[in-house]
Symmetry: D2
Subunit: 302 residues, 4 copies
């Protein structure tokens, strides 16, 4: 579909949906969905298993787990402990946390722009242990600590003058973690998914994903260490909203006509706008707790 290549989503799940819509079968892509009625959590695992599948989907081979929970965007005294547990559970499946005991969590994004601040907030809330173990050894605390956790919010290029990937590469080379977990705010296609969806992937972070623009990815190939990407969509491109609203109507019109019409309609200045829920500022703070608790759980072996 011509539109889908222009309109951006960071959710693999949404990429599969555009194929489903057009009734295209997709070789090299497996989709499994599970629904937990009691807790109202839908989990979809998308596996891209071949190079063809990767090409069609516009993202590399690997696992993409999407946890959708409509309640997630509502405030909750426990910061949605049930979602934190889901995150911890999937993380333990994707990586062997018994063997990979030294973890660097990278909070991508711009702390000064709320819709992009999820990553830095997660790092803020994380319990760091690497320096404690280095100082006092593994039995330094009441509970035995299992993981050496470190974290960094490297900022964005306009703030630092450096590619985020350069900073992370330098820190990885110097501190040699077994695993990097990169947390980022994402763009979705559907506003229903904003602040209600967590995507976990073992393919890392790729150029162009995230609310800000990463020009070089954080991948195992680049960093020479396994990279997990965790993200939550906090924005939809304004152009996407308009595009999707009109597509329905335009199905009846000719293909060529549609393209020209869309280009005329979706004014270029729409591309620097984004659509967010009015309460995005508060919600991003809550969500960051949910994710960091998930990481804290996974690392402490609870």
């Amino acid at each position: 579909m011509s539109g889908s290549s222009r309109i951006r989503t960071d959710l693999a799940l949404e990429a599969t949906e555009s194929f489903a819509q057009s009734n295209t079968e997709l070789r090299g892509v497996e989709v499994k969905e599970q629904y937990d009625e009691e807790r109202d959590i839908r989990t979809t695992v998308v596996k891209i298993t071949t190079e063809n599948g990767a090409k069609a989907m516009g993202r590399p081979q690997g696992n993409y787990i999407t946890i959708e929970a409509p309640n997630l965007s509502a405030s909750d005294e426990d910061y949605h402990r049930e979602i934190s547990e889901e995150i911890a559970r999937h993380l333990r499946k994707l990586v062997n946390l018994k063997r990979e005991t030294s973890v660097l969590v990278v909070g991508l994004g711009n702390q000064a722009i709320t819709a992009d601040a999820l990553g830095p907030h997660v790092v803020d809330n994380l319990r760091m242990t690497r320096h404690i173990i280095r100082e006092y050894g593994l039995k330094s605390t009441e509970k035995e600590i299992l993981h050496r956790v470190s974290g960094l919010a490297p900022g964005v290029m306009a703030q630092t003058g450096m590619e985020t990937s350069e900073i992370v590469m330098g820190v990885v080379a110097e501190t040699k973690p077994d695993l990097v977990i990169a947390v980022d705010a994402l763009a979705a296609r559907s506003i229903r998914r904003l602040n209600r969806t967590v995507q976990i992937t073992d393919t890392g972070i790729h150029p162009g994903s995230g609310v800000g623009n990463h020009r070089i990815g954080l991948t195992e190939e680049y960093l020479q260490v396994k990279v997990i990407g965790i993200g939550v969509p906090t924005v939809v491109d304004a152009a996407t909203i308009v595009h999707d609203s009109m597509e329905h109507l335009l199905d009846a019109l000719e293909e060529q006509e549609q393209k020209e019409f869309l280009e005329e309609m979706i004014a270029p200045n729409l591309y620097s706008m984004f659509v967010t829920p009015k309460d995005v500022d508060e919600t991003v703070k809550y969500l960051s707790f949910t994710i960091s608790e998930g990481l804290n759980m996974a690392f402490s072996g609870v």
Copy 2:
């Protein structure tokens, strides 16, 4: 036009444009435009002079001055001193600052939500003088102070449990200013105007205007003191974007069909979303300086 009643703009200027579009002549409404080519500032004065005009425009009789400056959204070392001067100049025309020497500036909006934080930021940047004059008299400083300036950011109803208008009413009754200036973030219809437009009006603030929802206005009728409203559009309703994008296409279709289509297309959840430029967080901070400097100039007689 059926759409215009559903789609929201806080700019009187945009309300006149929807009439211009439909070639309707509008009695009781005068529009005068001036363009300063050198500084690229367009100033439009809309005067609503009759009850009919007020009804057609959906806002009360009075003066609405709109200053449009494309550069305004860009960062500037001087915080756009030329716009501050424009604001001061128009303020002095709308009110007799020689006679009305005691001014309460009310910063409306929610400090925790950036797109709604313009008002509180302006109050933050303002030079308060009322308490100094009460303590030391008019000649307490090197320069003679001309105005007794006080300011308040009352917060929003969800934060205080009170109507903003109740708080302002109480403070006005207790401190008896000659003039209230209420500053607020607005919603526009055109994304071109976001963060680039300042509206000044002698009609105060009305229910439903502003990014947040004011249920009771701040008007001379209610507060028993003259009220100037100053606002900058920082958001466009997502529904407006979609509506405007489709209207063009739908001009050819039947009226009835259009309405049904729009209701179907513009999903109800769009109404809790808004569209903002990606750099709204930084821009609102800059803009608040420009406005507060304008007020500081007007009050110090520079």
Copy 3:
């Protein structure tokens, strides 16, 4: 004692201690202490019952409850629920919350200076209900709401140009609550008490108390409505630290000599300094949760 009049504490408990030290009996002042060993909470109730007692203590007749909990300054997942419960319990003793159902909570202090930001933070964390009950009635939520809670952080005089008491007076006159609860950051004499002590009093807030300078108090006499003051000491005057450290040594010297010496030693510039724990920024945030939870409990009848 000459020193005590110059050296400031906002804790009635500390005022009694300076008398205890000098073995003076204090008529018109009753002190009762209770210690809960299990939870390590010491509660002291100071009752000033006569005009002479008030004069000697330098504060008005009434009840002053001090809750000291060494653990309070440490971070806690539950935000010290046991202290919140203590606060709620004492509040219910001081006022008849069954009869006084409309409450205005005033968060005094300057949000921009952490050591002074306790009050604004408490108001931020409070569940406001007044506007909900006005809109939907008492049975609008699942649980019956018992109190009409509203709240305001009026800022400080340098920020508003108005006495804080003027703003509160205006809002009280307009919204007519049955009870005002004013929350403020205090100055203590002993650094041991910083961030570990909550004082609750039915005498309101008096000029000169609090970290900032209130020039007019918030009292029942002034506002014509009952006023409860709740405070936590977050700073010690630097001059106090030096004074107390030296007093011990100087006991052996002559009174006159001591006074001159102190005036020489305690440089005037010390008076604009304060002493805070290095972690005051984080601690004030935690403490505000503990207090607002106490208020939330008291108002919801839990």
Copy 4:
């Protein structure tokens, strides 16, 4: 002097003063003072030229420039441009900015604790150019850019689980700047110097300096690249205040007695306290502009 080893100052200037006080001559240390009466700026250059001098002073050989400007702590529309110019001028003397064209500015300290947030604020205000030059070349902007400026606020160990020096080392190894400038909040001995003094040194940052605790320094020896340290004292240890106040009195007493007395008097808990001016939160923000403007000037060749 026994006391000076226990009581901490990060200003080389104050280290020389304790020798001056005891009339000790100091070999290997040269002190030159200049006073600009018109602008009320006192500049002192301390040169430590021998290993003995370094030992006596408790800091390495090199140049320590101290700019004292009483006006610095006051708010100023121009953010004290005259001090920014002084900083730029001295920087150009210490390093050959014509040859060393690639600069990494490291903002040390904890953004969440105001008195420690100077470094991160400076990085926030800096104009980064390295990424622009990499993308578009040296002539990408109207003015020719002379320096490739990058910046990082690495956070503190409790926030990251890593030594700050590990992070900086990694980023230096990856991005290979010619020069590192590390900005940090300092502790002074004299409260008169708080927020009014800028120290510039070509010896970098050493363990134990700064408001937070750096355990490994940022030095040329460690990073293999030239390191300039820039700092402003924002706190005095509470123990220092008490110590200094008492020392005068105790001069008449026996040495042994003094030591015991001091240990008794200066309670251990004083060591976790610090003394700050009441307006430290605002002042740190202003100061960071002054310093970053100084850096911006030095890098743009103005």
